[in-house]
């Protein structure tokens, strides 16, 4: 602007023209240009890009550009990606929170669809694999000996594309042919020719003049022949059953693709079918068998792959479960029946089991019993409240414990509360047991059947004494020299016995039994036998035996000693015999 202003003034001064006229001249000469220059200047000013101006137009500009093509999006992509990455790096939560409302429903939808698909798959698989119909067909196949596949086809065949012919349109020669494996088609080339001839015939007979009308489909019994013509080759499909509509489209697509790939070979065909060998695969794709039970075939197989092991697993698991349950029940019953154990509560979970009840301290270990049934005692929690059982076995057990009965002693409960002790035991034990208070549930103990075991020496003396007799003459109570000698021996042995018994806390009382032979009156015999006892007793006291260790009485001839010979019997019974009665020394003082 300044330059423009300067130059006219310079001209004016130098040339000295009339200023107003010059201005007018100037307006006339360059007026329009000057206006345009000024406009351009204004536009330039307006077009100068400032951030404010850019901010004003940016959204609109982006929108316009975005509508035009995708270059803007492409240009922005790396920046946006970097920005996202940066955002995640700085604070992942920000972005996660932003997309959460979108993510949740999307995931739920995906999961729901997957589940629905799975359920559908399982439903169809179950329907087809184990349907009554399927089993019926298997039965029929088994009964008739016909392969199951054939029975299936007979009942369930929807359609089956059995053969595909690729026929050269002009010559009717067979270019390629495929058939289901179970079919034999030795005359495929003749069929191809005849199909063509029929086509020609139909076309000649029924097709409108020059229209090239063609036979597309015809049926023979269960078979339908579908013909798909192309300019140079014809595809014919032999279908058993109800041909689906989709098959025609498949055939069309195949004819088209064959024309595409074999176009030149078809035009130049002179009878050599070698170039068409590779078309066989494409034809084979058109062969298919569709059964009503077939529709979900792949899913069925997939299902079976895991269903069979699953069923086996379930059966196995169930069997183990039943076995485990039986074991558990048996173990609980056995524990409950075991003396001194009462099961109040038995519970069994998936992994652990628990037992609650009462247990006598002397009862068997419940865990040991459980282990005997093959139960895992580690997984068994048991809690037992102690109690005293009055079951006979427990009473006996308790008595055995209380009496400290040795193995050689048997205890047996007689009646409700009477204990019978049998077997053999050291004589000391007998005295100790007798001194022990009776355990709960027992009021009487019978030791009479127990054989007390004495120290060996004492036993010898005892036997010696008990086999000794002091013999008398007929009707006499006098001790003859032999009898006196016998009494002396008895006294000596008696002293030996006492000293042998001393360590066991036992003393022996000598019980004397006087007898007579059966002759004579009973009352006389009774008196005689008593005299004989008194005689021996006196002699023994005289020999130094304490009177309190001696007891006894005459019994006449009432309970004679047995002897084989009659004379001997009389002699043996004219005697005083000896029996040892053992007593605890401690009881000596007791009344």
């Amino acid at each position: 602007m300044t330059t423009e202003a300067d130059s006219p003034e310079t001209v004016e001064r130098n040339g000295q023209p009339e200023p107003a006229a010059f201005d007018r001249l100037r307006d006339l000469l360059v007026g329009p240009e000057r206006e345009r220059l000024e406009d351009a200047e204004r536009e330039l000013e307006a077009a100068r890009l400032t951030p404010e101006r850019l901010a004003e137009h940016l959204p609109e500009a982006v929108a316009i550009r975005g509508r035009q093509d995708r270059r803007l999006a492409r240009a922005l992509t790396p920046t946006v990606e970097r920005a996202l990455r940066e955002s995640v790096r700085r604070n992942p939560r920000e972005l996660a929170a932003a997309i959460f409302p979108v993510l949740g429903p999307a995931i739920r939808k995906a999961v729901a669809e997957t589940m629905a698909g799975l359920v559908r798959t399982i439903n169809t698989a179950i329907q087809h694999s184990f349907s009554v119909r399927g089993l019926k067909w298997r039965w029929e196949a088994w009964r008739s000996g016909v392969p199951y596949a054939k029975v299936l086809i007979r009942h369930a065949l929807v359609y089956r594309v059995e053969q595909i012919y690729l026929i050269h349109a002009e010559t009717g020669l067979l270019l390629a042919h495929v058939a289901q494996p179970d079919l034999t088609t030795p005359n495929a080339d003749l069929v191809s020719g005849m199909l063509t001839a029929i086509q020609d015939f139909v076309s000649d007979s029924f097709g409108p003049q020059g229209s090239g009308g063609r036979l597309r489909t015809f049926s023979v019994g269960e078979l339908t022949v579908m013909v798909e013509p192309g300019p140079h080759a014809v595809l014919a499909a032999v279908v058993r059953g109800q041909a689906p509509e989709g098959l025609l489209e498949t055939l069309q697509a195949t004819v088209e693709s064959i024309h595409l790939d074999f176009g030149d070979a078809l035009v130049e065909f002179e009878g050599d079918t070698a170039p068409f060998a590779s078309a066989g695969d494409r034809l084979a794709e058109c062969l298919e068998t569709v059964l009503t039970t077939d529709r979900d075939d792949p899913s069925k197989r997939v299902w079976l792959v895991w269903a069979v092991p699953l069923v086996l697993l379930l059966v196995g698991w169930g069997w183990l479960r039943v076995r485990a349950n039986q074991r558990w029940d048996a173990a609980v019953a056995a524990i409950d029946a075991s003396p001194g154990l009462v099961v109040v509560e038995a519970a069994r979970g998936f992994r652990r089991a628990s037992l609650r009840g009462l247990r006598d301290p002397l009862a068997a270990s419940p865990k040991a019993l459980a282990a005997g049934f093959g139960l895992d005692t580690v997984a068994l929690d048991d809690r037992w409240e102690p109690y005293q059982s009055l079951e006979p076995a427990m009473i006996v057990a308790r008595a055995r414990a209380a009496l400290r009965a040795p193995e050689s002693v048997s205890l047996e409960l007689r009646g409700v509360d009477s204990l019978l002790v049998t077997g053999r035991a050291p004589v000391e034990w007998l005295w100790a047991a007798r001194a022990t208070p009776l355990p709960a549930g027992i009021n009487r103990v019978d030791y009479s059947a127990l054989v007390p075991v004495l120290p060996a020496e004492a036993e010898t003396h005892r036997r010696e004494l008990e086999s000794s007799r002091v013999l008398f003459g007929v009707g006499s109570a006098d001790l003859d020299p032999a009898a006196r000698a016998a009494v002396r021996t008895i006294a000596t042995t008696m002293r030996g016995l006492q000293s042998a018994l001393a360590p066991t806390g036992t003393r022996a009382v000598l019980e004397l039994t006087g007898r007579t032979d059966p002759t004579g009156r009973d009352d006389a015999n009774q008196a005689l036998s008593q005299w004989r006892v008194d005689g021996v007793r006196g002699a023994l006291i005289a020999a130094g035996i304490e009177a309190e260790l001696l007891s006894g009485r005459g019994i006449g001839s009432s309970s004679p000693i047995a002897a084989p010979a009659a004379a001997d019997r009389e002699r043996v019974n004219r005697s005083v015999s000896l029996t040892i009665v053992l007593e605890p020394v401690a009881s000596k003082g007791t009344p």
Partner: protein, 171 residues
Amino acid sequence: MIQKKVCMVGVYGTGKTCLVQRFVHSIFSTRYQSTVGVKIDRKVVLVDDEPVTLLLWDLEGRDHSHDIAPSYLRGAHGLIYVVDGTRRDTLDQAFELRDLAERAAGPVPSVIALNKMDLRDDWVLESGDIDRLASESWHPLRTSAKTGEGVEAAFGWLARATVGGADKADT
């Protein structure tokens, strides 16, 4: 594999079907059965030790009421015209049939079988006729479906001609 379409062309009753039966199945029947439409048979012949499958289209013979359908002739690799040697008109009509056939199939190798040569007493064709045929680039051969004479030769020549051309077939 090489396949060739060969059409049997001729007036009714000249023995087209009989020639095919003789050639393919080696049988002959005196019972006459007129062919309706077309019957197709197959025979594998060896040409220079190469198997060639001939698809023999036995076309319905021409009669007063209708002509041979040209659509059957389309794409034929070889033609066998069959003439009844005892009926001169069948030869005359062969010329008309040739026009029709060559329009449909093009100039393909062809044989003209002068059939029924076993019926010598009734034979009406003369050597002049045969010379005339040869001069008009026909390949005439005398045949008898009944005795089999000339049958193999006729089909064999044609097979060779369709594979390697007429020159090769002549050698």
